[in-house]
Symmetry: C2
Subunit: 195 residues, 2 copies
DNA sequence: TTATTAATCTAGCGACGCTAGATAATTTCA
DNA sequence: TGAAATTATCTAGCGTCGCTAGATTAATAA
């Protein structure tokens, strides 16, 4: 009697198709092009079907963001693993952060810029988001006394670099130099109680 | 024959009323509430009149952003002037930056987050935007060899802190500690050629 | 087979940005 | 001064949006 199971699978698959379509359209044409009608066409169902999966459009953006956080975490972990020492790991993660943000701008936008349902830095924060924070914290920890504090600040610096470069406000050509500056600051200042 | 002048003044005043209304509504109810119809009601003209002043809605957001940059520059300069030494100036400016961003979130959003017509870091960048960058550069300069590079990085760090705190992603309670960290990094690392 | 429930669709509401074309006010000039 | 040209402004509406009520079809249970 696997009928219910099959239905569940079909439903999950359709949901995944919605999220995937949203992501593809956003990356190709920007988030404004991700409309409910467009997604409905894409999955070959009528519009109300989308509302059986997601409460509203924002929830779809949020679902894409969660996917993004998963891949983001993997990318950061991989960068850290490929490094030979803790200093290299820090820099590799910073480079991976910016490469991620700038190579998938729409995904990054969903994760960090657009309004979503996601709640951060509170008790019920989703594990995908916690994991991303953890991946940053892991490479920062060797260089500081207050890991949470330093991770937040490191994250903010990287987000600032990504957001400003992504919107054309700072010179792309100086990206590496800016990252080096951030890394150096953490290495030099991290273990200072006066911080 | 001051008729043309009076008309010019009337027109400029009406334009200012549009921008002011947009700003007030955005700050009170968010940018989504800033619709052309709403603004038309507010200034007591029909909708097409708005298009005699601005090419489209984005141009209105941009106009608010430019106003924001003017006030932003003043706020940063004032903070720098009130300081006793260069280190204090740096910290005062950083604090003023975050206070500005978090106390007028809609204005800051127009300046740095929403899509606008504004062009940055290029030849035809508007003087209001250059001035804001200059106000940051002025307090950073004493601490570095490459002022542009350091200013971009400082700015990115502050923007990251503002954006992440403004969207609830990092703890408001740790704001001062994060700023101290950023300031310390610049003071300690700035004059290092290895950066 | 029929009654019930679940799945899906059609059609439309109110609001959006924006604009064509009509009207009213003003200015120009014979 | 009075008709013609120009400018200022409005009404009305196009196409699109997110979202949903209510109808319809398909699947399940009795």
């Amino acid at each position: 009697m696997g009928i219910a199971e099959r239905k569940g699978r079909d439903r999950a698959e359709r949901e995944q198709r919605i999220v995937a379509a949203a992501r593809v359209i956003a990356e190709r044409e920007g988030w404004d092009a991700v409309t409910i009608r467009r997604l409905a066409n894409e999955i070959e169902y009528s519009q109300p079907v989308l509302y059986a999966h997601f409460e509203n459009r924002t929830a779809i953006v949020s679902a894409v963001a969660v996917e993004g956080f998963q891949e983001f975490t993997l990318a950061l972990r991989e960068a850290a693993l490929g490094a030979t020492d803790t200093g290299n790991a820090l820099k590799a993660v910073a480079l991976a952060y910016l490469a991620f943000a700038l190579s998938r701008p729409a995904l990054y936008e969903a994760m960090f810029i657009l309004p979503t349902d996601l709640r951060f830095a509170v008790g019920d924060t989703r594990p995908e988001l916690r994991a991303a924070f953890g991946a940053l914290a892991a490479v920062v920890a060797p260089f500081c006394v207050d890991t949470d504090l330093m991770t937040e600040t490191f994250w903010a610096a990287l987000h600032g670099l990504a957001a400003l470069e992504g919107s054309g406000r700072i010179r792309p050509s100086a990206r590496d130099a800016r990252i080096s500056l951030v890394i150096q600051a953490i290495v030099v200042c991290g273990n200072d109680a006066s911080a």
